[in-house]
C-alpha cells in the first residue's frame, strides 16, 4: 500500500532530492527514459583517479537531473548518497544488488542503507521501473568505461 510506499524516508527524498542537477563538464553522461510514461533522467559523473584505472576510478561527484515521478526522484536521490566516493564498479554492483532484491524480494545480509526503504515498491511491479531508472543510467555510464566501443 502506498502508505508504506510513500513512507517518511522516501518522502523526505522525494521532497528534498540529494545530488540533483547536472555536472558540466562531466566524464560520463547517460540519459535514460521510462518507456511507460516518457520520464527522463540524466546522470552526469565526474571521476577521480587516472583513466588507466578503468572502472576502478572513484566517483568524485555524481548528479541526477530528473523529470519523473516521486519514486524515481527518491531512488535517484538515495543512489546519489550511496555512490559518492565509491569506485564506478562498486557503485554499479550496488545497482545489481538493487535489481536482485527487487526480483527476489529478499534483502541481502547487511544490505546497503538505501535498499530497505525501497523494498515497499516491490508490491507495485510497475513502479520498479521507476526506481530502476537511476541505476540503469549508472549501468550505462559504467559500460561507457568497461565497453567503450558499444557506446559509439
Amino acid at each position: 500500500m502506498s502508505e508504506s510506499l510513500y513512507r517518511d524516508i522516501l518522502k523526505d527524498h522525494m521532497h528534498h532530492q540529494r545530488f540533483a542537477g547536472r555536472l558540466e563538464p562531466a566524464d560520463l553522461k547517460a540519459v535514460v527514459h521510462n518507456p511507460l510514461c516518457g520520464d527522463e533522467l540524466e546522470l552526469t559523473i565526474v571521476l577521480g583517479g587516472d583513466p588507466s584505472e578503468g572502472a576502478q576510478r572513484p566517483i568524485q561527484e555524481a548528479r541526477n537531473q530528473v523529470r519523473a515521478c516521486s519514486i524515481c526522484v527518491a531512488s535517484a536521490s538515495l543512489m546519489g548518497e550511496s555512490i559518492q566516493g565509491l569506485s564506478l564498479e562498486e557503485a554499479n554492483n550496488l545497482g545489481t544488488t538493487f535489481r536482485e532484491a527487487m526480483e527476489t524480494g529478499e534483502l541481502p545480509d547487511s544490505p546497503p542503507e538505501f535498499l530497505p526503504p525501497l523494498m515497499a515498491i516491490r508490491k507495485h511491479k510497475s513502479r520498479i521501473r521507476c526506481a530502476a531508472l537511476a541505476w540503469n543510467a549508472l549501468e550505462e555510464c559504467t559500460q561507457q568505461v568497461t565497453n567503450p566501443k558499444s557506446e559509439g
Partner: protein, 407 residues
C-alpha cells in the same frame, strides 16, 4: 427496456474489492470489462462447439465454421457494412493497421511520397506508417491540433492537397476524448482522392459508426474495447482495396492452390487470415456486439455524456487541475485527461489505487500528442456504460488524499 443503471450487475468483476474498497474501474479506454453473456459465449463455445474452422467435414467443424462466419456478419451489421466479406478478423486494432501498412501501403509507397497522420494518433496508428515510410524514404506529415484539442481542418486540407498516399486518422482521441468530424474528413479526402485509414478503437460502441464506416477505405477496431475478449479485432476495408492486397502472413487457410515454387491465394477475407484464427474470441465478440445492441449505442453515448460532463464540472472546481481537450462534453467521449499541479501522474494513480480507483497514468501511447500539450504524462479517467456519477465523484474526491501525501 432495462435502464443502464442495471448494467452493472451484468459485469461480475465490478463486485471485486480492491484494498478494502469496491473497485471503481475508470480505465475503459485501455480495455473494457466483460459482461456475463460474453463470458458465457466463450465458455459455451469451448465447452460444446470447439473445432477448427474451414478444414473439417465433420459436424463439429461445420458448426464452428458457421459460428465464426456468423460473427463476421454480426460485425458487418453492427457498423452498417452490407458486404461481410469486407470484414477481416485480426488480433486487434494494432494488427489491423500493420496489415494495411505492410500489405497495402508498402508495395505502393515510393521515395518522396507523403503520409498524413494527426498529432493525436495513438502509437498504433503512427509507428506502422513510420516503419514503412523509413524503409521507402517517404515523409510523414502531422495535422495540427488546436489548443482545445481539435483537429485543424484547414491544415488537414492543406496537407491533403499535396496528394499524400494515405490519411491515417483516429475517430476519437484516446487521451483528449475528442470526437473527430469523420464525415467532413472523408469528404475532404474524397475531394483530393486520398485513401483514408480510420482508427476506430476508441469510437466503437461509444459513438455510432454506421453513418460513415462504409465510406472508409480502411477502418480498424478491437474486440476488447467493446466489452469483448482480447485477441480479436477487425479490419473493415473497401472491397476493392482489400482485393488488391497481397498476403502479409502466409499459412493455412489463406491459399487457393499451393505449388512447390509458387501458390495462389484464397479470396478476401480468407486471404488475409492466415492460420487458425481466434474462433472462440470471434464468437464472444458477437455476444459483445449483441450486448451493446441490447442497450443501443445512442443510449450508451448519452450515458457517457452525462458522466464526462460531470467529470469536467467536478474537475473545473479544482484550482490545481489542468484538463486537456475540448471543454464541451458534447465534443468528447467519456475520456478526461488531466494534470494535478506538482504531482507526477504515476503518483496520482498510485494513491487513487489505494481506494480501489483504477485510472491510467502516463503518455497513453501518444508521445507526439503529449509533446504538443507540453506535458510528459497525464492522468486519465475513461468511462464505460457501467460507470456511475458516484464513481466520478469518488475519483475526484480522492485527489484530496493525493495532495495530503504530497503536500
Amino acid at each position: 427496456m432495462r435502464s443502464l443503471l442495471e448494467a452493472r450487475s451484468d459485469f461480475p468483476i465490478l463486485k471485486r474489492v480492491i484494498h478494502g474498497h469496491p473497485l471503481v474501474f475508470l480505465d475503459n479506454a485501455a480495455t473494457t470489462q466483460k459482461p456475463q453473456p460474453v463470458l458465457n459465449a466463450l465458455l459455451e463455445f469451448l465447452t460444446h462447439s470447439n473445432a477448427n474452422i474451414h478444414r473439417g467435414v465433420y459436424q463439429l467443424s461445420e458448426d464452428a465454421s458457421d459460428a465464426y462466419e456468423k460473427a463476421r456478419q454480426a460485425v458487418a451489421g453492427f457498423i452498417g457494412v452490407k458486404d461481410s466479406r469486407r470484414v477481416v478478423f485480426t488480433r486487434g486494432t494494432t494488427e489491423s493497421i500493420n496489415l494495411v501498412a505492410q500489405s497495402w501501403l508498402r508495395p505502393r509507397l515510393q521515395a518522396g511520397d507523403r503520409i498524413v497522420l494527426t498529432e493525436m494518433e495513438h502509437h498504433s496508428n503512427q509507428i506502422p506508417w513510420q516503419l514503412v515510410a523509413q524503409e521507402r524514404q517517404a515523409e510523414l506529415d502531422y495535422v495540427s491540433i488546436t489548443d482545445s484539442g481539435e483537429l485543424e481542418l484547414n491544415h488537414l486540407e492543406k496537407l491533403l492537397a499535396q496528394r499524400p498516399r494515405l490519411l491515417a486518422v483516429t475517430a476519437v482521441s484516446n487521451v483528449l476524448g475528442t470526437i473527430n468530424p469523420l464525415e467532413t474528413i472523408l469528404d475532404l479526402a474524397q475531394r483530393y482522392e486520398v485513401p483514408v485509414m480510420v482508427d476506430a478503437a476508441q469510437a466503437v460502441g461509444r459513438i455510432p459508426l454506421e453513418d460513415w464506416a462504409e465510406r472508409c477505405d480502411f477502418l480498424a477496431f478491437s474486440g476488447h474495447k467493446l466489452y469483448g475478449p482480447t485477441g480479436i479485432g477487425v479490419l473493415c476495408g473497401r472491397f476493392d482495396r482489400l482485393d488488391e492486397m497481397s498476403p502479409w502472413q502466409g499459412g493455412g487457410g489463406m491459399i487457393a492452390k499451393v505449388g512447390r515454387q509458387s501458390s495462389s491465394w484464397a479470396a478476401i477475407p480468407a486471404r488475409l487470415e492466415a492460420g487458425t484464427p481466434p474462433i472462440a474470441e470471434a464468437v464472444a465478440l458477437q455476444a459483445a456486439i449483441e450486448y451493446v445492441q441490447q442497450w443501443g449505442v445512442p443510449k450508451i453515448r448519452q450515458h457517457e455524456q452525462e458522466l464526462v460532463a460531470h467529470a469536467l464540472n467536478r474537475l473545473a472546481e479544482e484550482p490545481d487541475v489542468t484538463v486537456y481537450g475540448p471543454s464541451q462534453a458534447s465534443k468528447r467521449t467519456g475520456v478526461v485527461s488531466f494534470d494535478l499541479e506538482g504531482v507526477h501522474p504515476h503518483d496520482v494513480a498510485q494513491i487513487l489505487d489505494e481506494t480501489g480507483i483504477a485510472v491510467r497514468a502516463g503518455h497513453h501511447c501518444t508521445q507526439v500528442l503529449h509533446e504538443r500539450l507540453g506535458v510528459r504524462a497525464t492522468v486519465r479517467l475513461s468511462m464505460a456504460l457501467y460507470n456511475t456519477l458516484e464513481e466520478i465523484d469518488s475519483a475526484v474526491s480522492a485527489l484530496a488524499n493525493v495532495r495530503k501525501v504530497f503536500s
